[in-house]
Symmetry: C2
Subunit: 307 residues, 2 copies
């Protein structure tokens, strides 16, 4: 049964990595470079694909990994001691896209499957980090998030949207990382087939959510001011990933491949001391209207395109 | 007695902040900006000084803080439960200098005094992070580190040099952060007066160590290649401070002032996927000859200026 699950999931994840890369290459024109690697401590490894210095994509990483071993790292079983000293497998696809144009938001997608002995679960989701907010983009993003969830029950979108808001929060800044999306973990309450279908639906809707936003904004004219703000805001992305993101910290602490884990870091970043946007600017609007928890799908239909 | 100690240390720390800022202003020409702040959860606060976009200093922070309260945060007393629920005071000066010229190394200095009930200790040190290595600079830096320690005993330099090498290490990169220097903590084995003298000696020798190196290298000609490498290597500084530095993590987790804590982050940083220097270049020499643990004061006198 365990082998059967892996046999179903692995080809889906590998194909998903291909499809996401094809979509991104379609948006940019440049090809990904590929590295095959093996894990230092456990068996298995992965395929990391990176596109750097494209016309529209400044840096994108799309990584597949499949690691297995005789026992999970102790940090992973602190809360579940019954899973210690049990053979495990972990498969996943992770994607981060840092566009060049500050009007195109950064996006992050992940889907993973963990099997420990006979216990299994799925996790994953997608979230969007704009530099300049557009209400119509935020509504489209969350409409796709909801569409991914709706076939699985009425309450699903609200549950995983809230989990995403909770997870992608920077307490030291009192800011959301972006406008959220979906985040799910420990998913095994349905039967395997249905959980797998949910992971597939989230994967498909990531591209349906991101591709049109990227395509629409990638040629939006911008200047030094917008570029400066983008590089400054990317600092928050670094702070989040290195201070808070459980996946990044677990990967680093458990001896994962550093270059694959840190592929999520933006290509160019600035830190300025105590910088604050001027009231009334689009930069200030990002903080007040987008980096907060809000219900994008309950906005009145008359909401202007750019809040 | 406790009040007496604070009465001695506070004016010294405030004067030290002034002296360090004067020295840096002397090297650059631009003045520091100053912010007074109060702590969110405890009493007290600090004075943060920042110099950004100077001629030679791209970003420098020199911060004084004095925080006191009825009980240390629980994270700080996990290993010393007898100190829980006891009034405390913490005073410190922290300095990070990010020069513009890639031939000038980044430096970090800290000195702190903690008082919990009737228990007190000093901590601090200084360490150097070059982008391009010069053996003569490394030898000068460590000569000053040793000079700071020698009046206090023969074994002191070796002990705190080793502690510095142990502390400023990036396990996920298997690299030292730089060429080290001194790191001491929990210092209360001598009587108060002597411990304070040691903190004074380390403070004085930080400037004696750094100022001549900065002055000598700040007009060294450089191009895009050296600037790119500097920005890339600054990524390691960010990774260290956000993933590993106990002071940064403690400050963030205990509700310290984020902008003062993160003043240590470099102004412009790049991340490139899996970049490696070419063998035989000065960039490769940084990794092989400088970002390793070595005894700089045991080098033969005939060591060339640039290894």
């Amino acid at each position: 049964m365990a082998a059967d699950m892996i046999d179903l999931i692995k080809p889906f994840f590998l194909d998903l990595q291909n499809r996401i890369c094809s979509c991104l290459v379609g948006l940019d024109g440049k090809a990904f470079k590929e590295d095959h690697w093996t894990h230092k401590q456990n068996q298995g490894g992965g395929i990391t694909r990176i596109l750097e210095n494209g016309l529209h994509i400044e840096k994108a990483g799309a990584s597949f990994s499949h690691v297995h071993g005789d026992a999970l790292p102790s940090a992973a079983t602190l809360k579940r001691p019954e899973l210690a000293n049990t053979p495990f497998q972990a498969l996943g696809v992770s994607v981060v896209v840092h566009p060049r144009n500050p009007y195109v938001p950064t996006s992050h997608f992940n889907v993973r499957f963990i099997l420990v002995g006979s216990i299994w679960w799925f996790g994953g989701g997608f979230d969007l980090t704009p530099y300049y907010g557009f209400a119509e983009d935020a509504i489209h993003w969350h409409t796709m998030a909801k569409a991914a969830c709706d076939p699985f029950g009425e309450a699903i979108y609200a549950r995983y949207k809230k989990a995403c808001d909770d997870y992608f929060y920077l307490p030291h800044r009192r800011e959301q990382r972006g406008i959220g999306g979906l985040f799910f973990d420990d998913l095994n309450t349905w039967e395997f087939e249905r959980c797998f279908d949910f992971a597939k639906s989230v994967s498909k809707h990531y591209l349906l959510a991101y591709e049109p936003i990227f395509a629409k904004r990638k040629t939006h004219a911008y200047g030094e001011r917008e570029r400066d703000f983008q590089c400054y805001r990317r600092g928050r992305y670094v702070e989040y990933n290195l201070l808070h993101d459980r996946g990044t910290l677990f990967g680093i602490q458990s001896g994962g491949r550093t270059e694959s884990i840190l592929m999520s870091l933006p290509p160019q970043v600035t830190w300025r001391y105590n910088w604050q946007p001027e009231a009334g600017t689009p930069e200030a609007a990002l903080y007040t209207d987008y980096l907060i928890i809000r219900e994008w799908l309950s906005l009145p239909l008359s909401t202007p395109a750019c809040l």
